[in-house]
């Protein structure tokens, strides 16, 4: 058992421990949850160094039998693509524990139990190397989120929770069918061996096969991202979810979709991915602009942030489907940025809600005088979200734009419009909430940040600055992995599908020569 197994096991053990605590003592549940999630975070930091040195190979691999027949393996490992997402999940879980400290006052024990179970599912999704195991973790993460929204959410929570569950489930079942189809063709669920088979030419998927399989995976991922027009569950889920639920949903859970695209859909079905790329990019660009425009007219803060997520994730998808190094790097970086900055936005909106008990923008005004520190933190987060240079989102968006410009300059133009629009709605939001007349209620109720709230916000703000200025810390392992993935998709796309095995080697060499140049 290596470190990674421990990181998966610890929150699971924490889940059971919290579940078995007595109901009368909510403090114990909070304490245990905080201790466990912090411990997991500290442990997961130790994953980073080895992966940083070599991001393109899988590290901390455990490959053990789980079910003999059908051959399902417990195969986990982490590389440059997964490492930061794992860290994002392990970082945000303690943040969520802190955020919910006061906010969640009923059925505390269950809340923290579900939060830890969610952490297991999320980490599992980012490290699973067996398609079946991936699916299991994918579903495991679904159930606690359903409860987080359904039990601790706002008025229309049940509607939102069911909608969230049904959308995701409808997609993922089709993905399961595709996974089983692949198993039927190859006799293995193992992602690495599947990839090896594809590379060696042992597994040749015909064009219609690839297209259908790609669509099966893609729809599951696109719902999760969510890509326009499959996004309608997201605003409902965000608005109704408690703060911690929103943070986990926006920051980590949506990344399951984009991660799946990069990890599975691209390398396994390169031809189909390239064939559909054009259409997907169009959807992504529509998402960028549509999300921004709709965000602009939202009267509800959470809904505004939710639609801004649709817009930001459009960037990620756009970056992925440019098939360029810059675009992919930008996309992965943007996943992390969005996780940090939108997570922080939800966190701060949650703070405002705790004070004023309203999410309507019209109920606020002049918060800057009542709570200067809160306003400052919000300002930094908002600027990061807009994509101001020196802050994290700028790097990601810039890389995506560079990548898209290499392919088709029109894409860049449209995507850039999204950036401008994001500045409009964010600044306008800030102006309406933090400046202007201070209503009586705001003056009475809104107080400045408390130490516990600082503790949750500071790491996120620090990361925004860090990721915006010292990209070297984060980008190298990601780039290494992305180069690998790109090579993979190029190699296979060159031969399309029916090429004789002999031609494969020659073209691979050609690509390597091109790379070397």
């Amino acid at each position: 058992m290596n470190l990674l197994d421990l990181i998966l096991l610890l929150p699971a053990a924490g889940f059971l421990a919290v579940l078995l605590l007595p109901r009368r003592n909510p403090g114990a549940a909070r304490g245990v949850a905080l201790a466990v999630s912090l411990a997991v975070f500290v442990l997961s930091l130790a994953l980073a160094a080895p992966v940083w040195k070599d991001g393109s190979t899988m590290q901390f691999v455990t490959d053990a039998d789980w079910i003999e027949s059908p051959a399902i393996r417990y195969h986990v490992g982490v590389d440059g693509l997964g490492i930061w997402l794992v860290l994002l999940a392990t970082l945000l879980t303690p943040v969520c524990v802190l955020v919910s400290w006061r906010h969640i006052d009923r059925r505390v024990k269950e809340f923290y139990a579900f939060l830890l179970l969610l952490e297991v599912g999320l980490i599992g999704v980012f490290v699973a190397l067996d398609l079946f195991l991936f699916y299991v973790f994918w579903e495991v993460s679904l159930v606690p989120m359903y409860f987080l929204i359904g039990i601790w959410g706002h008025e229309r929570r049940i509607y939102a929770a069911v909608k969230f569950f049904l959308y995701t489930m409808a997609g993922s079942v089709l993905m399961l069918a595709c996974i089983i189809y692949l198993y039927n063709r190859t006799g293995t669920f193992d992602y690495t061996s599947l990839l090896a088979m594809i590379n060696a030419g042992d597994l040749i998927l015909s064009r219609p096969e690839q297209l259908l399989l790609f669509l099966g995976f893609f729809i599951a991922f696109a719902i999760k991202v969510p890509l326009f027009p499959l996004h309608t569950w997201l605003p409902d889920a965000h608005v109704e979810a408690p703060t911690a639920g929103s943070i986990m949903l926006a920051s980590v859970m949506l990344k399951m979709g984009t991660y799946g695209l990069v990890r599975f859909a691209l390398p396994m079905f390169p031809t189909a991915a390239r064939e559909f790329a054009w259409w997907i990019v169009i959807l992504a660009i529509i998402g960028i602009i549509y999300g921004a425009l709709v965000a602009m007219v939202q009267p509800n803060m959470k809904k505004l942030v939710a639609y801004s997520s649709v817009s930001h994730l459009g960037f990620v998808v756009l970056g992925i489907f440019t098939f360029t190094q810059a675009g992919l790097d930008g996309a992965v970086y943007q996943m992390l940025n969005h996780g940090i900055s939108t997570g922080a936005l939800f966190l701060l909106v949650g703070y405002l809600y705790e004070r004023r008990h309203s999410l309507e923008i019209a109920d606020f005004g002049g918060v800057a005088t009542a709570a200067p520190n809160l306003s400052t933190v919000f300002m930094i987060t908002m600027l990061a979200s807009i994509g101001l240079p020196m802050l994290n989102n700028f790097v990601g968006e810039f890389l995506v734009l560079v990548g898209s410009a290499q392919v088709d300059f029109r894409w860049t133009v449209f995507a850039a419009i999204g950036v401008i629009l994001s500045a409009c709605y964010m600044l306008w939001l800030y102006q309406r909430v933090f400046f202007g007349e201070t209503p009586e209620k705001v003056r009475e109720k809104v107080y400045d940040l408390r130490p516990r709230e600082w503790a949750a916000a500071i790491p996120l703000v620090a990361l925004m600055v860090w990721m915006g200025t010292v990209t070297k810390t984060f980008l190298p392992p990601v780039s290494a992995r992305n180069a690998e993935i790109l090579r993979q998709t190029t190699v296979n796309a060159e031969f399309l599908v029916e090429a004789p095995p002999g031609a494969r080697g020659a073209a691979a060499e050609a690509v390597e020569v091109a790379d070397a140049r």
Binding site: I67, L166, V173
Partner: protein, 489 residues
């Protein structure tokens, strides 16, 4: 035909003998030895002893088969066959009967009903199930089916003074007897086509006929309709919601699991035996029934407010999934059927057992609203029910997922892609109504009610079904090996 009752015959028959013997003995002991109401608990002990003897008989048969490396052991001139298939299902029946019996005591007390007949009928019904899974002759199969059905008619109407119960019994009886009539008419044509009642001979005779022979088609249609009635597949499912809702909940649990499993064993014996050669003819028929079952079961369940009725519709949809495994028909599919039937039995039994615990003197406990706030009042039951619901919905890592996985795999292996997609899509629909129950338990506010009627028996039975449902999902290997052993060929 040299000897009428050989030692092999006896050896094969022991489990059924034990069941019949103990079944009748329980009936007698009820008033001969345990006349006092307080002594009725001993009847359960007596039933368990009977099951232990039955299990011992099965165990000896199993070790006999494995020690001599035999695939099957036939008796009574080919009328009964003990093979992996029969043993797998009989073990399932033993487990289900014991679990149902041990939860029934408090329920019967609350309903103020007799005990002796109840336990006797459980054993006799199981005796019928033995013949349904073991019989390889039209006569034994038919008698097994009827013995099971007759016992169930009585058990469904066991609450004689309640309108709902005897109405359910009446509907079940009328449609059950009707379907038996259809079935046995088909059997008479089988006999006419082959001149024998042994399913091996019938299979040979039917295989020798041309495909699409009108007599074969007529016989096949009559038998298929009769069997589809028994497994409550649409469009022959009308009795199931009524019978499930009106029957005593413990019996509903037994009906939904034991009787259903036995009916599927019966169906496999017929469709993979005599009718295997007519596969091209019945395949479209079963595909239609399976898809319709998925559709009706899942759509009708969405609007139900009574949990028993909801689970009845869900069981119709599960019948559709099981039929899909049979339609795929390859090795994975047939293992899948065995896996699915057993897994379905465990999780459905568990769900009904929670309802049994909800039945209190002042509360029927069958509406979804009665489950409201269960997480606060009795978290243990709520978590178990959650596991059963997740499993019924087919979410990993629960047993229900393994079942669905096998069916999907088999469909894809045999190229039934459209069916696989349909089956997958209905999983999403099913989640909606299973989660209505979950929602009630976890999200809705608690109502002030009396504590649950939990007894030691209910706790044990729930623990067993919960452990099986979760255990098979997390570590399915041993169970899958057992199911693989059940393959007929």
């Amino acid at each position: 035909m040299s000897q009428y009752y050989t030692s092999t015959d006896h050896f094969v028959l022991i489990p059924a003998l034990m069941l019949a013997l103990f079944g009748c003995a329980v009936l007698l002991f009820d008033f001969l030895i345990f006349p006092h109401p307080k002594q009725r608990k001993w009847l359960i002990v007596f039933l368990i002893i009977g099951e232990i003897f039955t299990g011992a008989g099965l165990w000896r048969q199993q070790s006999f088969l494995s020690s001599y490396g035999l695939n099957e052991l036939t008796a009574f001139n080919g009328t009964l066959t003990i093979d992996g298939f029969a043993l797998f299902f009989n073990w399932l029946f033993v487990l289900l009967s014991v679990l149902v019996a041990i939860v029934s005591y408090r329920y019967l007390e609350i309903e103020n009903e007799h005990h002796g007949e109840y336990y006797g009928l459980i054993l006799l019904a199981q005796c019928g199930m033995f013949f349904m899974a073991t019989g390889t002759d039209l006569i034994t199969l038919f008698l097994g089916l009827e013995l099971t059905a007759l016992s169930f008619y009585v058990m469904v109407g066991f609450l004689r003074t309640q309108k709902r119960s005897n109405e359910a019994a009446m509907k079940y009886l009328l449609l059950g007897a009707f379907s038996s009539g259809l079935l046995v008419y088909g059997f008479s044509l089988f006999y006419g086509l082959s001149g024998s009642t042994k399913i091996v001979d019938v299979a040979d005779a039917l295989a020798a006929r041309e495909p699409g022979d009108p007599l074969v088609v007529l016989a096949m249609a009559a038998v298929a309709v009769g069997v589809l009635f028994k497994v409550s597949a649409a469009p022959f499912h009308m009795w199931a919601p009524d019978a499930y809702e009106g029957a005593p909940t413990t019996i509903t649990a037994f009906l939904a699991t034991g009787s259903k499993a036995a009916s599927f064993a019966f169906l496999m014996r017929i469709f993979l035996g005599p009718l295997e050669s007519a596969r091209p003819t019945w395949e479209p028929l079963l595909i239609g029934a399976a898809v319709l079952s998925l559709f009706i079961g899942n759509i009708a369940a969405v609007t139900q407010t009574n949990v028993k009725r909801l689970l009845a519709y869900s069981s119709i949809s599960h019948a559709g999934y099981i039929l899909l495994g049979l339609i795929a028909g390859n090795e994975t599919g047939l293992i899948g059927v065995a896996v699915y039937v057993a897994v379905y039995a465990f999780m459905t039994l568990g769900a009904f057992l929670v309802l049994v615990a909800l039945r209190r003197r002042d509360l029927i406990g069958e509406d979804i609203e009665d489950l409201a706030g269960l997480m606060e009042s009795s978290p243990g039951y709520a978590v178990l029910m959650l596991i059963f619901m997740l499993s019924l919905a087919g979410i990993p890592p629960t047993a229900g997922f393994i079942g669905k996985y096998y069916i999907l795999l088999a469909l894809i292996q045999t190229g039934h892609y459209t069916l696989a997609v349909i089956a997958a899509v209905f999983v999403a629909v099913a989640i909606y109504y299973y989660f209505r129950i979950v929602r009630a338990m976890f999200v809705s506010e608690r109502k002030e009610t009396a504590p649950l009627a939990s007894t030691f028996g209910i706790k044990v039975a729930l623990a067993v079904s919960g452990v099986l449902t979760l255990g098979i999902g997390i570590y399915p290997d041993p169970f899958l090996r057992m199911a693989g052993f059940s393959l007929i060929r």
